[in-house]
């Protein structure tokens, strides 16, 4: 039982990271119908920028641990958002009216480009995060849980809640939802769709960058290719929940993380990476548009 709970909490921590990345995929997909293959690399940018800023600015010594980390998170999210906006301008805006797969290839090209910029700057080897967090465990209902796991889950939940309220309750959020449902109609209602696209490319990368920072702090080790694995998992999570659907990405991410952790614990660690995809295929056979995705009639 204790092992089960530990795996569950571990799964929730990994799953909330997947969910944060999945939000970027799903928001971009909702508005542009584009799989942003470079999103995983924006996540890696977050991890690397976090490491560089952490070691160079000595935020912990100047501002203390909590405030230092908050400032760091803000800087990382802002910088990755800038990269996201530039990416949209360079790789996607010229292809708005092109065939959809052309944009996919442009996205893949952007992904290769971004990955190799990191490789050229930092080298191809693993990078190690500075050890700044206390390695304490917290007693959770009689269960010793590493504090970092709890921080990861809490930070993700807070960010997702803020995003959810923003999208559901504010005027700008309504514009994002409207553009996702029907771009043409949204334009007729006076919504500047190009600005919505830009906004989506600020929010998504910012969340992805935050996820990168969390992964760096949580695992302590990052590599320039990790965006592919995390990106693929997160994208699977987005599809699982029903792509284009924001709560769906959160649910999908958490389910994927938990299933993976339990699968690795109880079935076989060697098959860990395959379990996620088996679950995805099984769910899509039963619900072809994901768990929370709307049913789009397409009969074959």
């Amino acid at each position: 039982m204790e092992q089960f709970l530990q795996q569950l909490i571990n799964g929730l921590a990994v799953g909330s990271i997947y969910a944060l990345i999945a939000l970027g995929y799903t928001m971009v997909y909702g508005v542009l119908r584009l799989i942003n293959f470079a999103h995983g690399d924006l996540f890696t940018y977050g991890a690397y920028l976090g490491m560089t800023l952490l070691t160079s600015l000595l935020l912990k010594d100047r501002l203390g641990l909590t405030l230092g980390l908050l400032v760091l998170a803000g800087m990382v999210m802002g910088l990755v958002a800038v990269v996201g906006v530039l990416l949209e301008r360079a790789a996607y805006r010229p292809l708005l009216t092109a065939p959809r797969l052309s944009a996919v290839v442009s996205a893949l090209g952007a992904s290769i480009f971004l990955q190799n910029t990191l490789m050229l700057i930092y080298g191809a080897r693993y990078q190690v995060y500075p050890d700044i967090l206390p390695q304490t465990t917290v007693d959770l209902l009689g269960l010793p849980v590493p504090i970092m796991r709890i921080i990861v889950v809490m930070v993700s939940v807070v960010m997702m809640a803020v995003l959810f309220l923003f999208v559901q309750k504010t005027k700008v959020g309504t514009a994002i939802r409207a553009a996702a449902i029907d771009q043409g109609a949204a334009r007729l209602m006076g919504i500047d769709v190009n600005r919505v696209i830009q906004l989506v490319f600020i929010i998504g990368p910012a969340l992805g960058g935050a996820a990168g920072l969390l992964v760096g702090l949580y695992y302590g080790q990052i590599s320039f290719t990790m965006g592919w694995t995390y990106g693929m998992k997160a994208f699977t999570a987005a599809i699982l929940g029903g792509i284009g659907n924001i709560p769906g990405a959160m649910v999908g991410g958490l389910i994927l993380g938990v299933v993976e952790a339990l699968g690795a614990g109880y079935v076989s660690i060697a098959w860990k990476d395959a379990i996620a995809f088996v679950v995805l295929i099984l769910i899509l056979i039963v619900r072809p548009s994901g768990l929370l995705g709307e049913r789009v009639a397409e009969k074959v």
């Binding site: 997909y29 799989i35 010229p94 959809r100 480009f113 990955q115 050229l120 088996v278 295929i281 074959v300």
Partner: protein, 319 residues
């Protein structure tokens, strides 16, 4: 096939046949690898370009074929070229089996499912499934192919084997394009609803295209295994599927000469950019983005088949 296209094919064929006189072994090896990727790109083009099914897990079928050939050869001593049909068959059966429940999924959902299939196959190979695949080390000691009593081992000889297979494939695929099957696929891709309304069994045609593409990838896998004599799961990674996907879209999805050019460019580009040393993949990514922005429809886009009056059977041409 237009007359001009036939002319271009002939020029390329003559050039390739003469290549061993002018190029060194390394360059010939690069050309061989272009040939293998041309085969893969043509086979994916059937699925992605002709049937419009987003498949980003093509390496799975390639792996199936390569492993089938390798296992038949090393365990049963079957000559590798004899294993070619078996490789195609196994890959096609596997494709039909796994595609059956998911082929109706919408575009991007299918894309992710095929990525997943590719990963599942790769992980299964790493985990030495059924004790046949040799785990992460793969299978080694695959025999060289023997053709008409002659053992093929030098790069020059492989050039003729691989490009001979390419020539057969190009001929067959052009014929296929103009057949009832090919026209049905084009219709299906351009307007699935109208195609179904005209009595085309869309699910069946999609499945057939998927199986046929997989079969060709499987046979290419067998050729690859015979060329390398050693195969391991890392040759069939997600990256491999992505590369073949790029070739089809960059070259012009649906167009046979297009995807061949796409394959040649994607293989040769990193070779040409060797001067950039470690930055060559960076340049590669950049060039891909620029190419898509400049020519979103691909380098040599697909053009609808056109028929002259003289092409029609006389009975139909009469008023």
């Amino acid at each position: 096939m237009s007359r001009r296209l036939v002319g271009i094919y002939l020029v390329v064929a003559v050039g390739l046949a003469a290549a061993p006189r002018f190029l060194d072994a390394y360059q010939i090896d690069v050309i061989n690898s272009v040939g293998l990727y041309v085969l893969l790109a043509l086979s994916l083009n059937l699925i992605l370009g002709d049937a419009g099914l987003f498949n980003m897990g093509h390496a799975a079928f390639y792996a199936m074929g390569a492993y089938t050939a390798a296992i038949l050869n090393t365990r049963l001593g079957l000559p590798i070229l004899w294993a070619l049909p078996a490789s195609g068959l196994v890959a096609a059966l596997f494709a039909a089996l796994v595609a059956r429940p998911v082929i109706h999924l919408r575009g991007d959902y299918l894309l992710v499912v095929t990525i997943g299939l590719g990963e599942i196959v790769r992980i299964a190979l790493v985990n030495d499934v059924f004790g046949l695949t040799g785990g992460a080390n793969g299978i080694f000691g695959i025999a060289r192919p023997v053709l008409l009593g002659h053992k093929i081992r030098k790069p020059d000889e492989f050039l003729y084997l691989i490009w001979g297979f390419v020539a057969v494939t190009v001929f067959l695929f052009h014929r296929l394009e103009q057949s009832r099957f090919g026209r049905a696929l084009t219709y299906l891709r351009e307007d699935p609803v109208a195609a179904e309304g005209s009595g085309i069994d869309t699910a069946r045609y999609k499945l057939m295209a998927f199986a046929l593409g997989a079969a060709w990838a499987g046979m290419t896998g067998a050729l690859y295994a015979s060329k390398m004599t050693i195969i391991s799961p890392e040759s069939f990674s997600f990256w491999e599927s992505v590369v073949v996907f790029l070739m089809v879209i960059l070259g012009g999805s649906g167009s046979i000469p297009g995807v061949m050019v796409g394959a040649a460019i994607v293989v040769l580009m990193p070779e040409v950019f060797r001067t950039f040393a470690t930055a060559r993949m960076l340049v590669f990514g950049l060039v891909m983005m620029i190419m898509m922005v400049v020519r979103p429809q691909g380098l040599l886009p697909w053009r609808a088949l056109r028929f002259k009056r003289s092409d029609l059977p006389r009975r139909e041409a009469a008023p």
